[in-house]
């Protein structure tokens, strides 16, 4: 629990790098209250009925976009969806022009996903609305990290001292960066595990350890978070074959039997038979679907906390 003199004072969620441990704890504490709403017979509250929110998705996304949209609708907001494939971007309009045109229609919040790192920060500079980063390149994906931390806290009752192994394509993952920042701020230990070609140089500077041995990571950890392998990375020559990747870095049923304590997480979508053996994804040690439900509650909490203040 954060103490009573604490005040949440952010207008944007651009990344967890800007948030203190108290900010993160406050969001996780408030998420409990939204989690309860989802179990009500009428899971809907009128809190954002005076808000108009634009979901600006320049990259494909199913889960994150649906999760944000549902969170917004559960809270009574008016929602507009924009996807780059069917839009003015194709006609050559710049991000700045697009967003300034949309802002002229009197919107209050923007949820943005973009392939360029820093896109959300850029929007926060050029317009007045609250900005939520739903993924910017390989930089940050703060709401995913928040829902991961919430799920861990729900399972273990704490983050401090928790041993988290993150396994897979560290190099291209925004989920990893936000998780490392958040987890280390809250006092968890993080070990990264994956092929050398997926390991960024100097990543140890983020207060994490690196191993190339999956057994070692699984023997040590409380939480094994497996990351999605983008299949096109194979064409870039970063790993020889899916089968070899699975052999060396896939979590298998034999691991669950050998190391009986860790839980399995995955940000989705799962490549069955690559990152996780199918049995592992379906086992009761995997909390993947619970992560998805929690994602909805975390996003409601973030929307709630950011919606206050200065435009009134």
């Amino acid at each position: 629990m954060t103490d009573s003199s604490y005040i949440f004072s952010h207008r944007h969620l651009l990344g967890l790098a800007d948030y203190t441990a108290d900010d993160i704890r406050h969001i996780l504490d408030q998420t409990d209250m939204f989690r309860e709403i989802l179990d009500r017979p009428v899971p809907k509250i009128p809190t954002l009925r005076d808000k108009t929110i634009v979901n600006l998705f320049y990259e494909n996304s199913t889960r994150t976009r649906i999760s944000f949209e549902l969170a917004q609708k559960r809270m009574g907001a008016d929602v507009v969806n924009f996807s780059a494939s069917s839009s003015s971007t194709k006609k050559g309009e710049s991000l700045k022009d697009t967003i300034q045109n949309i802002e002229s229609m009197k919107i209050d919040m923007v949820v943005v996903r973009h392939e360029s790192p820093g896109a959300a920060h850029f929007l926060a500079r050029v317009i007045d609305a609250n900005i939520i980063n739903a993924g910017d390149g390989a930089h940050e994906h703060p709401t995913q990290a928040l829902l991961d931390m919430y799920s861990m806290r729900q399972k273990f009752g704490r983050i401090k001292g928790l041993k988290v192994a993150i396994i897979g394509d560290i190099l291209h993952s925004r989920v990893v960066r936000s998780n490392i920042i958040g987890l280390t701020k809250l006092g968890a230990e993080v070990v990264l595990c994956g092929p050398k070609t997926f390991m960024p140089v100097f990543i140890e500077d983020m207060n994490v350890r690196v191993t190339y041995n999956l057994e070692e990571a699984l023997a040590w950890c409380d939480v094994a978070m497996s990351l999605r392998i983008q299949l096109e990375r194979q064409e870039q020559g970063l790993f020889p074959s899916l089968r070899e990747y699975h052999e060396r870095f896939g979590i298998k049923r034999t691991h669950l039997e050998k190391y009986p304590d860790f839980i399995v997480m995955h940000p989705g979508p799962v490549n069955r038979g690559v990152e996780l053996e199918s049995d592992v994804a379906d086992s009761d040690r995997a909390i993947i679907l619970n992560q998805v439900t929690n994602g909805l509650a975390v996003r409601m909490a973030v929307l709630y906390l950011l919606s206050g203040g200065s435009r009134v």
Binding site: F8, Q30, E36, S307
Partner: protein, 192 residues
Amino acid sequence: MNPQWHNPEFVKKALLLSADDMNRTFRRFAHQFIEPHDTTDQLAIIGMQTRGVYIAHRIKKQLSDSLSLDIPMGVLDVTFYRDDFRTKMKMPEVKVTEIPFDLDQKDVILVDDVLYTGRTVRAAMEALMSFGRPRSIKFCCMIDRGHRELPIVADYVGATVPTHKNEEVRVMLKDLDGEDAVYVINEPDNDE
């Protein structure tokens, strides 16, 4: 919260209800709650965060101690339903809501510490509707201090106290504040 409240030189406070008064009121509420009912099967108490929860607990305890009745109790936070939260600069902290029973066909009694503008009660009624369809909702408060802005009347009242808008009514409860008492506090620097 104004830190000066804790400084006796800045604050004039008058005792409205003593611990004995409040205990009598809890006993009266317990009897009043069950009076209109042949059976108490459908009765439920819901305490409103924060102080209403403590008051509801005390009434529930009274019902079980002296009348041997176990009435289900829930806890409600109405922040999401308020119409005035956006006039504040920061979003208020949301507290727990927990209604561990089905509300359909229940006779619900909402419990709060102070009835003032009536906006909190309105929000609470809207909130309850998302849990089900109670057969009836009644409202119980320790203090009715007047200044209603909505057409709302309490069904059970501890004490009715005409107040000035600059004054603050504080209901203190043993389990939360260490004492049972109701004070009227006159805050000289109030900017309202």
